[in-house]
């Protein structure tokens, strides 16, 4: 490897590290900052006659690391997910979470159609705007000392539900985009086939879990992580050959390994890898965005942000109400779920390659950046929002009563 190439890698990692350190220092979520840093020193960075911020290039090695990053992110998603965990949440949370995700998804689809009037873009926008960032939400809960509150169980239950939904949605989406979106029908068929394929593998995985258990029972971590990582790469390679997106293959492997008794250990071993390569993925996602793209997508983004905040507020209230939470607890649920993050970027990453006509990466970046600023505020001010909405409601009710009296 030449020195220049190596220096490039050093700069990328240093940039990503700086973003994460700054995010930590200011209690800000790290993903939007990683993207922002990628934009600021990437190949499309602002440059002029007397200054040039284009410090790093999108070399092949960075692309490779970023590709591993998305594979590991999805592998981890599959690994952490377990069907029994969703069922164990109990029926109330099942109901609340299901309604929350379903309504948000419909809202996302409607928003996508409203903005772009095209099938692929509609699905992509729905994927970007539906699901909250569990990392940010849990961080906010801990920071605002809300973990002891009764509604926290529902909020975290919704997170589990969202992850499950996203696992299915991302597989369907990548199936859809693998057909290059030739027609909606072909795409939907491909999506359905992918989901069916996954369910088949899952069924097989349950059968295989005993075999895998004995295959993976190593005393030390070294052979385990090597074997798991090679399996991941092999699956990803052959997935492309078989006509399934490699992201789906990674997810699938995660789902299968989650059924084995080693899942906790694998999670522990994979987490640092996911953090490292995931950071490079988010950073390189930013490197591909030209900051001049922000101006044309600004209106779209603002509409999407407004729709998300308002939509989330009402779906959150509704799902809290259905799960039996009233008053301030319900408002807390509604105001805690505003942030967006990893899933928005992953969706934009998968969709952005397939449909280059729309500036989806720039939109997603600006969108999560804005929500990263808004979500801590709504979460913190939920008490104030609650009082305001009560006042507004009584005022409205009184006016109605007054007009009826006339």
């Amino acid at each position: 490897m030449s020195d220049a190439l190596f220096l490039n890698l050093v700069l990328v990692i240093a940039g990503a590290t700086a973003a994460i350190l700054i995010a930590r220092k200011f209690h800000f979520s790290s993903i939007p900052l990683l993207i922002l840093f990628g934009i600021m020193i990437g190949p499309h960075a602002p440059h002029g006659a007397w200054f040039d911020l284009r410090l790093v290039e999108h070399t092949e090695s960075i692309q490779m690391m970023s590709r591993l990053g998305i594979l590991l992110l999805l592998f981890y998603l599959g690994l952490e997910f377990s069907a029994t965990r969703v069922i164990e949440r109990g029926t109330t949370i099942l109901k609340g979470g299901g309604i929350y995700v379903a309504l948000n998804f419909v809202r996302g689809l409607a928003l996508g159609w409203l903005l772009f009037q095209s099938w692929p873009a509609m699905l992509a926008i729905a994927g970007i705007t539906t699901v909250s960032s569990s990392a940010v939400v849990t961080k906010l809960l801990v920071e605002f000392k809300r973990t002891a509150n009764p509604e926290t169980e529902l909020i975290l239950g919704i997170m589990v539900f969202e992850d499950a939904f996203m696992a299915v949605f991302l597989s369907a989406l990548s199936g859809f985009f693998l057909t290059k979106g030739t027609s909606p029908l072909v795409g939907i068929v491909a999506g359905v086939v992918t989901v069916a394929f996954i369910l088949g593998i899952l069924f097989l995985g349950r059968r295989l879990s005993k075999l895998l258990d004995s295959l993976l029972s190593f005393r030390s971590g070294e052979p385990l992580i090597m074997l798991v990582f090679s399996l991941l790469l092999i699956m990803a390679y052959f997935a492309e050959e078989l006509g399934v997106a490699e992201a789906v293959a990674a997810l699938l492997l995660g789902l299968v390994l989650a059924e084995t008794s080693h899942s906790k250990r694998i999670i522990q071993l994979v987490t640092p890898l996911r953090d490292l390569f995931g950071a490079v993925f988010f950073f390189s996602f930013g490197m591909e965005i030209d900051c001049r793209q922000f101006a044309p997508v600004a209106t779209y983004t603002l509409v999407a942000v407004a729709a998300t905040v308002v939509g989330n507020y009402f779906t959150g209230l509704l799902s809290a109400w259905i799960s039996g939470y009233r008053g301030r607890a319900a408002t807390n649920v509604a105001c805690s779920l505003m942030s967006r993050g990893e899933f928005a970027v992953i969706t934009a990453g998968i969709a952005g390659v397939a449909i280059a006509d729309y500036p989806l990466p720039a939109l997603a970046a600006l969108y999560i950046l804005l929500l990263a600023v808004i979500s801590p505020i709504t979460a913190k001010k939920s008490r104030w929002i609650h009082t305001i909405s009560i006042k507004a409601w009584t005022l409205f009710a009184r006016k109605k009563a007054g007009s009826a009296a006339c």
Binding site: R85, S134, T138, K145, T147, A148, T152, L156, R328
Partner: protein
């Protein structure tokens, strides 16, 4: 409200576990154990759903304070004999008297588990001035008892009583 107070357990996926305790006084108390090891304690006054104060402990702090609350360092004067009962399980703290039968004998020699059906959880050494109190946790069969030590022993009530008489030197 039950007189003893109730403890409810809830899972917080991605975060850890939550224990909700309703105290006799009407106050409520929540302990959250985070997956990364920290414990957070919350206090909720009666009728409130949100905590008014909280404190965060590291894993080690939590363990130390937990054993202080449990009475490992200092036993309250009111309770001469500390006794914790969970269903059938009883845990007793027994001080070995100088004329005890067990003094100078090892756990294996006495056949504690076989003959009495009780388990020695730990043995706390006698405190001497200027010395830190040490404890032998889960001592092996070759461990020899000496007078002045405190034995923490678990078992059924009837088998414990038998063992207790021997340790404290009252007949048997």
């Amino acid at each position: 409200m039950s007189p003893l107070g109730t403890i409810k357990e809830a899972e917080l996926p991605g975060l850890g576990k939550k224990y909700f305790a309703q105290l006799e006084s009407g106050d409520r108390f929540v302990v959250v154990i985070y997956d990364e090891g920290n414990r957070e304690l919350f206090y909720l006054p009666p009728g409130e759903d949100e905590p008014t104060c909280s404190v965060m402990l590291t894993d080690q702090e939590a363990r130390q304070i937990g054993s202080i609350i449990g009475g490992a360092f200092y036993q309250p004067k009111v309770l001469e004999k500390l006794e914790a009962a969970v269903a059938e399980l009883h845990i007793e703290w027994l001080k070995i008297s100088p004329d005890s039968e067990v003094a100078g004998k090892s756990i294996g020699e006495l056949g504690v588990r076989k003959k009495y059906g009780v388990t020695i959880v730990a043995v706390i050494e006698q405190t001497e001035k200027g010395k830190k109190r040490t404890a032998a946790i889960n001592p092996g069969p070759s461990y020899v008892f000496t007078p002045g030590q405190t034995i923490i022993v678990a078992g059924r009530r009837d088998s414990l009583e038998l063992f207790e008489r021997m340790v404290t030197g009252e007949g048997g």
